[in-house]
Symmetry: C2
Subunit: 152 residues, 2 copies
């Protein structure tokens, strides 16, 4: 799929605020409401837009403690890798998990209440998974930027 200048603007606008009405968007884009509607439907159908979500303030729901954990596996046969990835995806404290190049195998982003909860998470959930070799945790002192907007 290829995007013209209007599509690109539309994608940007919707990434910033998906609750805008098509009428508001039509004004910003100098288009009719229906034209906006059809462009959006197309973006959804082509899966350019995956989903619409509400973003929650982590402080307000008492999950202000953020950590990144590097995890190394002891063995790398496919069985272990698949099992680790499946189990880690089911831990709700883990919002993100990436298989990475470099010294460590995985990078996890973890959200919990505080350091006590983080210890609980490490002891009871993460290191309960088989074949975890070493872990290395880094704690977020300050979130400088956190955006979901991809530049198109």
């Amino acid at each position: 799929m290829t995007f013209d200048a209007i599509d690109k603007k539309l994608i940007s606008f919707l990434q910033e605020d998906s609750k805008q009405t098509n009428k508001e968007l039509s004004n910003k884009l100098n288009l009719s409401v229906t034209a906006v509607y059809e462009r959006i439907k197309k973006l959804e159908k082509e899966n350019v837009i995956n989903k619409y979500v509400a973003l929650v303030n982590k402080e307000k729901v008492d999950k202000a403690f953020v950590a990144f954990c590097h995890v190394k596996l002891t063995r790398h046969s496919q069985d272990y890798v698949v099992k680790f990835e499946k189990e880690v995806a089911n831990i709700n404290e883990v919002l993100e998990c990436y298989h990475l190049s470099g010294d460590y195998d995985y990078l996890l982003k973890v959200l919990v209440k505080d350091m006590v909860a983080f210890r609980e998470f490490m002891v009871k959930k993460l290191t309960n998974i088989d074949h975890i070799g070493s872990t290395h945790s880094m704690f977020v002192i300050n979130e400088v930027k956190h955006s979901t907007v991809i530049n198109v």
Copy 2:
């Protein structure tokens, strides 16, 4: 602010899909449409829900190459730190930036088209910022999990 069981479910539902109508939510929660509406307004007013956004498929907009960069500053006086944070926040390839505990000062999540674009980013944008000491880049081989849903 304190949440009852219905609030928690509502927050979860909206984090999964913010385009559900109040009617659909009222069915799931066994509530009237207005009750749902008022609870949502309250969550928005209290800033529990920050914003509503469309999430875009990075492959479809040609930003499938993801890297994490650790960055260390040479000096840590307030001026340099503030300046670095401000400049890095303005780079659109950098979606996230965290000030971290540990060996490196910052962790950046970077989205670009490919390795060529990543090199461009490093040479022309990141290392153009003053007082960057060392950087260490890790590339995402596979995105195992990427969720915006905080468990409440």
